[in-house]
C-alpha cells in the first residue's frame, strides 16, 4: 500500500521536497508521527490534511493507495 504525500506552501521549506512516498502506513496518526520524526519542525507547524482530496480531522484509516495533502494556512493578500 502506497501513500503519496504532497506538501504545500512553506511546508516544503521544512521537508525540502514537494512530494514523498511512504509504504504501509495504517492510519493518519501513524503518518503524522512518521512525518514528525522525519521532519521535527513539522510538529511545530499548523496544517490542514486532505486525504484523497477531502479534508479530514482526527484519525483516519488509510486503506489502499492514498493521496495525502498537507496544507499550511496562507495569510498574504
Amino acid at each position: 500500500m502506497q501513500v503519496q504525500i504532497m506538501f504545500f506552501g512553506q511546508l516544503t521549506d521544512i521537508t525540502g521536497t514537494p512530494e514523498l512516498i511512504l509504504y504501509d502506513i495504517p492510519d493518519t496518526d501513524t503518518l503524522q508521527e512518521t512525518l514528525h520524526q522525519l521532519y521535527p519542525a513539522l510538529a511545530q507547524t499548523k496544517y490542514a490534511i486532505a486525504m484523497n482530496k477531502k479534508t479530514i480531522q482526527g484519525k483516519s484509516i488509510l486503506s489502499g493507495d492514498t493521496t495525502i495533502a498537507l496544507l499550511p494556512p496562507f495569510s498574504g493578500g
Binding site: 512553506q10 479534508t55 496544507l71 494556512p73 498574504g76 493578500g77
Partner: protein, 370 residues
C-alpha cells in the same frame, strides 16, 4: 445612464448566453464588499467594477507605498502616501461611473465589522493577516454572508467560496472548517517578510472576482465547499473538498455580543496581550479564583515559596493540558519567554473560557522587584 449606453458597456458579457441581460441585471442589483485594497483587492475591484456590480464597498485603512506598486495594480506613483480605499474609490469611479462605490477608510475590527458587512451580499477577503481573516469569517457566519476567500504565500495561492449553501453542499463550509485555529505568530511569514511575486495576487484576485460573478449570476460551478490551490511555479492546480467539521460551530462566537467581545488579535497570538506586569501580578496573586503555574522544567532554580503555585513543566503542557478550574491562570518561568509559549498553548485549549497570563520578565523580574 440610458439603457442603450449601458448595454454597450456590458455588451460583450451580455452576449454570453449563460449570462445575458438577466445576469447583467443580477450584477447590477448586487452589493459586494472588498476588504483590503491590496494585492488581491486591486485586481478583484477592477474586474468587479468593470463587470457592473451595482454597489461596491472598499475597506482599507492603509496608505499606498512604493513597495505596493508591483502588485497593487490600481495605484501609481502619484498615489504614494494617499489612502488606498479613497484612491481606489476615485479610480474605480472613473472606470465605471454608473456604479455606486462606498469607501470605508478605516480598519475593520470587531466593533465595526458586523455593521459594515451587513450592508452587502458578498464579502471578498483580500486582507493580509490572520486576525482579519478569522474576524471576517466569523462575521460572515454570524450574518449569513457569502465569503469569497483568497490568500497567497510567495508563489502559491488558495481560493474558496465559504458560507454559501447550495444543493451540492447544504451545510456550507467556512474558513474554520479548513483551519480551526490560527498558526502561532512566528509560524507564517507575511508578504513583507516572505516576499511575493506581483502576478500571483493578480491571478488569485482575478479568480476571486470570477467566483463572485459566478455566485451572483448563478453560472458555472463556484468553489462551494471546495478549496483550490494554485502553484505559479509549476502551474499546478490542486482541488479538494472541504468537509464541514462538527466542532467548528462552537469555535465561532455565537452572537454579536460575543463576537464584539472576542479578541481576534489575542486569538492570533499577538503575544503582548498575555503579558502581566509584576505590579499587576502582585495585586491579583492572592485572588480567590486564580491558579499560578511554574512552567519551568523539573529541578530548575530558584525555588519559589513566596506565593502558592503548582508546577507543570512546559514540556508536559505540550503533551497534555490538565484541567484547571480557576478562572485566571498565571504562568511563570525564569525570564517570561517559555511562559508566553505556555500561555499560547493554554489559550488555544481553553479559548475564551479562562483569563490566561504570562508573568512578564518571569522569576528573574520578580526577585529583582522584591
Amino acid at each position: 445612464m440610458s439603457k442603450l449606453a449601458e448595454n454597450e458597456r456590458y455588451q460583450r458579457q451580455i452576449s454570453l448566453k449563460e449570462l445575458g441581460e438577466n445576469g447583467q441585471q443580477k450584477l447590477k442589483n448586487s452589493k459586494v464588499l472588498v476588504v483590503g485594497a491590496g494585492g488581491l483587492g486591486c485586481p478583484a475591484l477592477l474586474y468587479l467594477a468593470g463587470a457592473g456590480i451595482g454597489h461596491i464597498g472598499i475597506v482599507d485603512f492603509d496608505l499606498v507605498s512604493l513597495s505596493n506598486l508591483h502588485r497593487q495594480v490600481l495605484f501609481s506613483v502619484h498615489d504614494i502616501g494617499l489612502s488606498k480605499s479613497l484612491r481606489a474609490g476615485d479610480i474605480l469611479g472613473k472606470l465605471n461611473p454608473d456604479i455606486e462605490i462606498e469607501v470605508f477608510n478605516q480598519k475593520l475590527d470587531n466593533s465595526n465589522a458586523l455593521e459594515i458587512l451587513a450592508g452587502f451580499d458578498i464579502i471578498l477577503d483580500g486582507t493580509d493577516n490572520f486576525a482579519s481573516r478569522y474576524l471576517i469569517n466569523d462575521a460572515c457566519v454570524l450574518l449569513n454572508k457569502t465569503l469569497v476567500y483568497g490568500a497567497i504565500s510567495r508563489f502559491e495561492g488558495q481560493l474558496a467560496v465559504f458560507n454559501k449553501a447550495s444543493i451540492r453542499a447544504e451545510i456550507p463550509a467556512n474558513y474554520r472548517d479548513l483551519f480551526p485555529l490560527p498558526p502561532a505568530d512566528n509560524e507564517v511569514l507575511n508578504c513583507e517578510e516572505a516576499g511575493v511575486i506581483g502576478v500571483l495576487p493578480g491571478i488569485i484576485g482575478t479568480m476571486m472576482a470570477n467566483e463572485t460573478i459566478k455566485v451572483i449570476t448563478g453560472i458555472g460551478e463556484p468553489l462551494l465547499n471546495r478549496l483550490l490551490t494554485y502553484n505559479s511555479l509549476n502551474n499546478r492546480f490542486f482541488e479538494m473538498d472541504l468537509v464541514v467539521m462538527p466542532e467548528t460551530k462552537s469555535m465561532i462566537p455565537a452572537n454579536s455580543d460575543s463576537f464584539k467581545a472576542f479578541n481576534y488579535h489575542w486569538f492570533c497570538n499577538i503575544n503582548s496581550n498575555f503579558e502581566l506586569n509584576q505590579d499587576d501580578f502582585e495585586r491579583i496573586m492572592n485572588d480567590q479564583d486564580i491558579q499560578i503555574v511554574d512552567v519551568r522544567e523539573q529541578g530548575e532554580k530558584p525555588l519559589i515559596d513566596d506565593f502558592k503555585h503548582i508546577h507543570i513543566p512546559l514540556s508536559h503542557l505540550k503533551e497534555q493540558i490538565p484541567d484547571m478550574d480557576a478562572q485566571t491562570i498565571v504562568l511563570f518561568c525564569q525570564s517570561g519567554k517559555r511562559s508566553l509559549s505556555a500561555a499560547e498553548l493554554l489559550s488555544k485549549h481553553y479559548g475564551q473560557s479562562r483569563k490566561i497570563y504570562s508573568l512578564k520578565d518571569g522569576i528573574a523580574g520578580w526577585q529583582k522587584n522584591k
